[in-house]
Structure formats: C-alpha cells, structure tokens
C-alpha cells in the first residue's frame, strides 16, 4: 500500500489518482484539529505547483492536486522516466510537517448565531425536553451556553460539523426523517448539533431557527462558518428574528 509515515505519526495515503489524505489520528480531539488546521494554513499560504484545494475533516486533511501540473513542475531531466505525482506531493507535505511549529496556539474566530428557539421555529424542542426530563427553557439554556468548535464544513454548502454538545441534551435522530427541513434550522442529532444552510431532507431534532444566511454564493469565502470557528448560539425573540430576516433579505 502506498503510504508514507511522517514525523508525529501522520500517515499520507492516496485518495484515487488526483488526491491524497494526511491522517493525524483516529478520534475527535482538539489536538488533532490543531495539527490539521496548522498544516492546512501552511499549505494554503504557500501552495505547491499543482495544488487545487484542501478539505479538513475530524481526523485528516485531504489535498486535491492536478497530477499533470505537479509533474510539469519537476525538473526537466526527469521527464523521460515516470514521476509519480502522489510521491512528489507526499514529499512536499512531509517536509512541511517536519518543519512545522505546532506549539503555536490557534486563533479561533468566534461567530455568534442568533436563534429563535421553540414554537413554530423549533417543532422538536418539547420532545427533546421531555426526552431528558427537562423544561424547554432548560434545554435552551444548556444549548445556548455551550461553545462549539466547527471541526469541518461538509454535507451541504456552509454546513458546520460542531463538536462539544452537552450530553444533557444529546438526542437521537428522528426515526423517520422529514422530507424537507427549512434553511436556517438549528438541530440536534445524537452528539452533534448544527444548522442547515439550505433546505434538504433530514432526521435532525429541530429546536430553533436562525434568520441569518450560512451559505453565501456571491461571496468569497461562500460560507459564513469555517473549520476552526467557535460557534455560540444567541437566543432571540420572534420580533428580532423577523427584523434580522428582513435585513438579510436586502443583502
């Protein structure tokens, strides 16, 4: 199997013929997240020839590259022999990892997301409360007091995978999913909490809704949230919700 083991036991393996994965660990841990973020920032700051983009996840960082451009950048004298694009990119990554200073603390942006909880905006709030023998107000309190780290964005444009949900309100998915969940819905599914940026089918327990847009296709970056952000949910009233919604509509 084509794999390279590097310092700090990060493992580099191919994902098809035009991408590779750098795996830093096997569970959700802040320290792994830090290594991923540091590596990602370093690569994006100085992209190697042929670099296309990278996607961070919970335990790994995937690098997409153009194999032709990778090989073209290698010295001319080697053109006659076969040069493996994977091996070229692997050694570039290896040097980066060996020279990395991971002692530096990460800078996290804190993003506050206003949420109108319950009622027509959170049809499953009462169910979640009952499930845990809590009042709906207690659920809102626990949810909005938490600080959540966005480990990655995926599943849908702008959709954050947030870690750090309190066990006190972790609730299993609905047995049968809804065919359509409105964009902006804030929900709980097992140990995860998150916000749906666009309308999709889904089985999450919906406890509230945010009036702000998470997917912004006219902007760069097109996502409100990024991997590494700390997310806080801020309870707002129905009136405030309508106000903010109107303002967002004008954008």
């Amino acid at each position: 199997m084509n794999q390279t083991v590097t310092k700090a036991s990060a493992v580099i393996s191919p994902l098809g013929d035009s991408a590779l994965v750098i795996t830093f660990g096997d569970s959700i841990q802040y320290d792994i997240h830090k290594q991923i973020k540091t590596c990602k920032d370093s690569i994006e700051l100085n992209p190697f020839p042929g670099f296309v983009e990278c996607v961070p996840a919970f335990t790994n960082l995937t690098i997409f590259y153009n194999p032709l451009e990778v090989v073209a950048a290698v010295g001319k004298k080697q053109k006659k022999e076969f040069v493996s694009p994977f091996e070229v990119v692997s050694s570039i990554i290896q040097s980066k990892l060996e020279n990395e200073q991971t002692e530096k603390e990460l800078n996290h942006r804190t993003v506050s997301i206003p949420v109108c909880y319950g009622g027509e905006y959170g049809p499953d709030l009462e169910y979640v409360a009952r499930h845990h023998n809590l009042t709906p107000e207690e659920v809102i309190s626990i949810h909005s007091e938490g600080e959540y780290l966005a480990y990655m964005i995926g599943f849908a444009p702008g959709f954050p995978f947030l870690g750090g949900l309190s066990e006190k309100i972790a609730t299993p998915r609905r047995p049968s999913p809804r065919t359509s969940i409105p964009a902006g819905s804030v929900g709980i599914a097992g140990m995860q909490t998150g916000v749906y940026p666009i309308s999709t089918p889904g089985g999450w327990q919906l406890i509230g809704q945010t009036p702000i847009k998470l997917f912004l296709p006219e902007q760069n970056p097109p996502s409100l949230l990024q991997a590494g952000d700390i997310v806080k949910f801020e309870p707002i009233s129905k009136e405030e919700y309508q106000e903010i919604l109107a303002k967002e509509g004008e954008k």
């Binding site: 393996s13 994902l15 995937t62 032709l68 444009p157």
Partner: protein, 331 residues
C-alpha cells in the same frame, strides 16, 4: 446571438469542468460527467477545453438556432439532427441561422455534449459556469434548461470557417475529418472500470473484496449525477464500525450499511461517513458517465502508479489532439 429551447429534454444543463477551490466550504464540484467528451467538443470549435457546454442526458432538447454558429456534438450518440436530417458527431458543424437542432433515440452511451464557438454568455458563480442543481446556483439560472429558455452566446454571429466544406449537407457545413474518440471514451457493453483500493479497503471481508473485483454490478435506477447506486453482491465490513465524516472524491466507491456500493460522481457531497472500498481512476470516469441505468460493469484493480501513468498519457494525447485540430482548422 442565441439559441432558444423549444423543448427541454430530460436533463440538459450547462457544465464546464467543475467548480474547484470551495470544497472546504461544502460547495460541491459538479461539472461534466464525461469530461473528455466536453473537452473534445470544445477543441473542435476552437474553444479553451475548459469552456462550458451543454450536457444532454438520454433524451435531448430541441434548440432553435437564432444566429449562425459553429458547434460540435460529442459523447453518446443521441442521434442529433438539424431540420430533421441526421448530422455527424465529433466534427465541427456550421449551422445557419433559423435551423432547428434536435436529438432522437439514444443509440450509444448516455450523455452527449454540445459546444458552441465562443461559449455561452453565462456568468460564473464561484469561478465556474457549472450548474449546481441542488444548490440552485451556476449555469443557466441554477437549474436544468426549460422550454422557452434563451441561451445567450458569447461570440457574435460566426462566419463560416474556410476549412469547412462549401457544400450544405443535411443543413450543415462540416469538415471531412473527425476525431477518433476511442482513446478517450468508448461505449462497449459491460465495460471494465479500473479502480485503485479505497481508503477503507482493508476493513472489508476477504469475500467482499473478491466479489467486488470479479462479479458484475448493475447500475440501478436510483442513479444520477450525485452517484451511481450499484446492484450486486453485498459488500460487508469485517466488523461494524462507525466512521467519522471525511472528504471524498469523484470516483470514490462508498458502501453504506445495506452493502450496496455507491460510486460518487459529479454532484456528490463533499464529505461522507461511509467506508470506501475503491476509487475509480480519473481516466475511467467518462466511461462510467456513458453507462445507463440497467446496464452492468465490472471493476478491475490497478495500482496507483499504473493509474497515474494512464492519466498522464491521456493528458498528453489530449494535447496532441488539440495540436492536430489546430493544424487542420487553419487554412
């Protein structure tokens, strides 16, 4: 300078080679399912190979040509015709204003591509003209074409290039040369699709690994631009495992708990949590795009280095084809 849609067809959308650089924000790549056919269609009309064209699926649209234009039609044979008469594929075609371009029965393949010299005058969204159907952005108003849509063309009304014949045959002026496309895409029955081992290949049972590389898999009806759901022997992990979500790529073959593999394609989500048994090599993705629901394929294993060699060879061939077309198009 435009083309008007008088009949929409099953699924016709504007696609280029995909929206790259935003996957970390959850924005999918999209793009042509058969990228070689789109690129060749572009070369035939003198466009940059990355220019956006129309991807036509199974049942094609009817287009009213409202200004003289130079086009090319490649990919699967969906029996294109102009004013009711069949026209050749894999060649540049000069179509006079007032003509009607339509498609008929699907004879080979599944998807056909139409390029126009100068491309379509469509704004880019996030650096690409590809249509993200579910996200409703990009391409023509973020959706598939509908009746009465008017597609604006970037170039002014073309004049007939001198390298084309002076004779109007079946409503078009064309060349006496065409592309030998078989090095790039082919339409054989039960094709062999080459794969590398996937990230979680080792987690599968020996029996599953063996079946995967030996038995035929049928493309089910629940297949689309997001992915092909395959029917065949059930593939199982050695032990049940919850995986964390991670990035996937076009060609990732993931296996959900029900054991039926899904080949992720152009409109796949950026991340997934199912184990990946294999990766279809980039060069065979166009081949797969031309297989229809109901048809079967085989998977065959090759190494990373072999996959990379083939990729580099094909890119070289594409560049040579570009030079060859330039030579015969300038007179």
């Amino acid at each position: 300078m435009s083309m008007r849609v008088s009949k929409a067809g099953l699924l016709t959308s504007i696609q280029d080679l995909g929206r790259r650089g935003f996957q970390q924000h959850g924005v999918i790549v999209s793009g042509a399912m058969d990228s070689y056919s789109l690129q060749i269609a572009n070369l035939l009309v003198g466009n940059d190979e990355k220019e956006a064209g129309l991807e036509v699926t199974l049942m094609g649209p009817t287009l009213e040509i409202e200004s003289d234009c130079l086009v090319a039609i490649t990919g699967g044979d969906l029996t294109p015709s102009v004013n009711g008469k069949p026209v050749p594929m894999w060649k540049p075609l000069f179509i006079p204003k007032g003509s009607t371009l339509s498609f008929g029965p699907c004879k080979t393949g599944c998807r056909s591509y139409l390029s126009v010299a100068g491309g379509f005058a469509i704004d880019e969204v996030l650096n690409s003209k590809s249509t993200y159907l579910r996200g409703e952005i990009g391409g023509y108003k973020g959706r598939a074409l509908q009746t009465d849509d008017v597609l604006p063309l970037s170039a002014p009304a073309a004049s007939k290039p001198t390298f084309l014949s002076n004779e109007l045959i079946n409503g078009v002026y064309t060349s006496s040369w065409s592309v030998n496309y078989k090095e790039f895409v082919h339409f054989t029955k039960k094709p062999s699709v080459r794969v590398m081992n996937g990230s979680q290949f080792d987690l599968f049972t020996a029996e599953s690994k063996s079946h995967f590389m030996k038995e035929p898999f049928k493309v089910s009806n629940q297949s689309d631009r997001m992915g092909y759901r395959m029917d065949g022997p059930s593939l199982q992990l050695q032990e049940k495992k919850e995986l964390l979500s991670e990035a996937v790529s076009q060609g990732s073959v993931q296996v959900p708990p029900d054991g039926n593999p899904i080949i992720l394609l152009a409109d796949r989500q950026t991340t997934g949590g199912y184990p990946k048994i294999a990766q279809v090599i980039t060069v065979d993705l166009p081949l797969l795009a031309q297989v229809k629901p109901g048809e079967s394929i085989y998977f065959s294993h090759i190494s990373l280095h072999e996959a990379e060699k083939i990729y580099l060879e094909k890119e070289q061939m594409l560049q040579e084809l570009k030079i060859a077309i330039n030579l015969v198009s300038t007179k």
